[in-house]
Symmetry: C2
Subunit: 135 residues, 2 copies
DNA sequence: CTTGACTCCGTACTTGGGTACGGAATTTAT
DNA sequence: ATAAATTCCGTACCCAAGTACGGAGTCAAG
């Protein structure tokens, strides 16, 4: 499958055709030039791009953020790219911390739930209390 | 501040009054009984609850999921709670993995961006490629 | 050369998570 | 006791991220 139509792309990436078109409108995907009143063709690079978008989304990036990330891949404007990436990285690390905190809390909950069987009132809420020192 | 009104609660939790009311409608917060045609009062436990909601949200839980999590804190229906918690935990661990992957990718990007200064084309997209083996 | 599938494009609808608005009632300050 | 601030409540609006729809054009097969 070297080049395909929009539905092939959508299928390969596991999304809806409409989603592809939506991403094009948003500028996340570039619409390949239309060959004179006809039908556009897409290659594997586009599939990769869509998969990237989906992966980034699962992690919690917005489409706007993802657009920025995708621009980093251009190769040009390196220092600018770097600044964005650093900002994003700080962001990601914060998320990681929060997530680790909740992971611990949930794991404890499961544990104590297994052990105590009855009077639960577990560390779930407590676990997130010390999470917001400076807003 | 032992008990306060809705605006006090909102302020203490760093959210909008409307947001509190929205959460009440959603069942995330319980509206304390209204004292005869009057004004409801809230205590610190409610503040904690709102902070929890916000913390959980930052991590990527939906309000529905958070509602479930909050119910786990009730102490009753332990086995049920445990099942939900375990499911959520698997979820969280998946998110953690994804997030760690992107953290690595971003860190590399920043690195190579700092080093190569010019021809970037970094590991960002590649980093998420092997992330979806089984859909 | 017509039928059926697919593409293109615009517009509209949906869901999640709120925010804003407006009128009535109640509380607080003077 | 009256004005200003709050609360209560319903309804309506907003943005993000899609999904659905409908008409017109195009392409591939029989």
């Amino acid at each position: 499958m070297q080049t395909t139509t929009i539905s092939g792309l959508a299928q390969a990436a596991g999304v809806n055709v409409e989603t592809i078109r939506f991403y094009q409108r948003r500028g996340l995907l570039i619409e390949p030039a239309k060959p004179l009143g006809g039908i556009r063709r897409y290659d594997e690079a586009e599939v990769a791009r869509v998969l990237f978008i989906k992966a980034a989304q699962r992690i919690g990036f917005t489409l706007d953020e993802i657009a920025q990330l995708l621009q980093l891949d251009d190769g040009t404007r390196c220092s600018e790219a770097r600044a964005i990436a650093e900002h994003k990285l700080a962001d990601v690390r914060q998320r990681l911390q929060d997530l680790q905190r909740i992971e611990t809390a949930l794991a404890k909950l499961v544990d104590c739930c297994a052990a105590s069987r009855g009077k639960v009132s577990c560390p779930l809420i407590a676990a997130l209390q010390p999470a917001s020192p400076a807003v």
